[in-house]
Amino acid sequence: MKKLINKPEDVVKEELEGIALAHPDLVKVHINPHYILRADAPVKGKVALVSGGGSGHEPLHGGYVGMGMLDAACPGEVFTSPTPDQIYEATKAVNGGAGVLHIVKNYSGDVMNFEMAAEMAQAEGIEVATVITNDDVAVEDSLYTQGRRGVGVTVFVEKIAGAAAEAGLPLAKVAEIAKRVNENGRSMGMALTSCTVPVAGKPTFDIGDDEMEIGIGIHGEPGRTRMKIKPADEIVDMLAEAIIEDLPFKSGDRVIAMVNGMGGTPLIELYIVYRRLAQICEAKGIKIERNLIGNYITSLEMAGTSITLLRVDDELLKYWDAPVKTAALRWGI
């Protein structure tokens, strides 16, 4: 294992210390239990958004804490869900009296830990609503699994619901918008290489130099198929087809498109992916209203990409365009 770290067990804590030093204008960092709050939390009278999950997906979620997006993020150990006490403390700290929305990716550990935290907060009289994201079309047989995994759409949910909360909407309405984003978003990813969890010390899975995994999850969970590497256009065709057929996205639909890097893919390649995705959408009459290209929900140093399409209407687009000021996403200010 070759990594720019000190000790594997200190990775999360030292990352948080770095964030605290880098962004004191945006966030406050609490160590033990670990959580990141927006600097002006709690914002009185505003619905607060709390998300979290295993570390290793940066900038998700800590990079999205700030005005117009999350009020708190709870990082667990790398690829391990945060614990209820952590989520509960963060929920209490950001509650501005208008209730708290928990945004949870559909992984059994995350779902259960957030559920326990919500019960604890509700016992204290804090109103909590939960939205679970599950946009990964790679999981086909969802009847017999935990269900689809929550991946790229989580970024869209955090941004759009964050703007809705900032606009002063009540908890029920913010939760409804968050659910609408999840229901209208679909994603699929692929990997060229594996990734190494620091405490594990060796790659999560083995993959040949000439192979790729189509439908990879953000923790390196297996996807639909393992196959020989192909040209970028053919890979994008496979991902886009699965995504577009699933919702399905139709001619005349307006979308926000994200081409996301898994952590080890250079931007030059992501633009090659976007080029093909834009061609496909154009050919199908799907209008890309906005796009996001870069590393937004990663899997440590894995090379690969994921594509997310979100069908939008004027309201969702308005909240997408609303000002946001976080470490990883910033516009309109």
Partner: protein
């Protein structure tokens, strides 16, 4: 009767067993999950052992609830909420007692099963810890109903848990991260069912004298 001292001995013994089986549990998890079950459980029970002295003079319910809270805040993943709920529900079921009759022990494990099923939304046959917990509780209930003493009922529970654990091998996972493997999860023993079997085995080993 199972005294408070017996409960403390059980917890300490289980913590030792988890430490010994850490690698084994992690290996089982590596095959179908994310290779952290043994590491996470050991971290949790090491924390439990560190915090146990602060509640050792309290009643059994308080002790078990404390164990649950510590596990919830230290284990993480899916194991934290599941084992945390298991111990918290056991604590709630026994309340402020200082000694447990065989019927109390049965009620305690029944509450554990109910809590785990609720939390994990898993049913028998989903390839989870429920597959060891369900037959263990059922075997204990039946043995006690037939007039067996606690030691005998526990032995039957251990045998049933072991059978349930082994029965997870051919199953396709329907819950948790293993479920994403689909058919590829078959052929591997479930790590959660294994740590649950060890929980009953530890109880039988330290409570074998405690027949009432």
């Amino acid at each position: 009767m199972v005294t408070k001292d017996d409960v403390l001995k059980w917890l300490k013994h289980y913590a030792d067993v988890i430490a010994e089986q850490k690698e084994y549990l992690t290996q089982l998890d590596a095959a179908i999950g994310d290779a952290d079950h043994g590491i996470n459980m050991d971290r949790g029970f090491t924390a439990v052992m560190a915090q146990l002295p602060s509640v050792e003079d309290k009643d059994i319910g308080t002790i078990l609830k404390k164990v649950g809270m510590v596990l919830v805040s230290t284990v993480g993943g899916a194991g934290g909420p599941l084992y945390g709920t298991l111990f918290m529900r056991m604590g709630m079921a026994v309340g402020n007692k200082d000694a447990l009759t065989p019927e109390d022990v049965l009620k305690m494990f029944e509450a554990a099963l109910e809590g785990v099923k609720q939390r994990g939304k898993a049913e028998l046959g989903d390839k989870t810890m429920v597959d060891a917990l369900t037959p263990a509780v059922e075997a204990m209930r039946q043995a006690l109903a037939e007039g067996a003493d606690l030691a005998t009922a526990l032995d039957k529970a251990v045998a049933a848990a072991e059978e349930g654990m082994k029965a997870t091998i051919p199953l396709v996972a329907r819950k948790g991260r293993a479920s994403y493997l689909g058919e590829r999860s078959a052929g591997h023993q479930d790590p959660g069912a294994t740590s649950t079997y060890l929980l009953f085995k530890s109880a039988a080993e330290v409570w074998n004298h405690a027949d009432a």
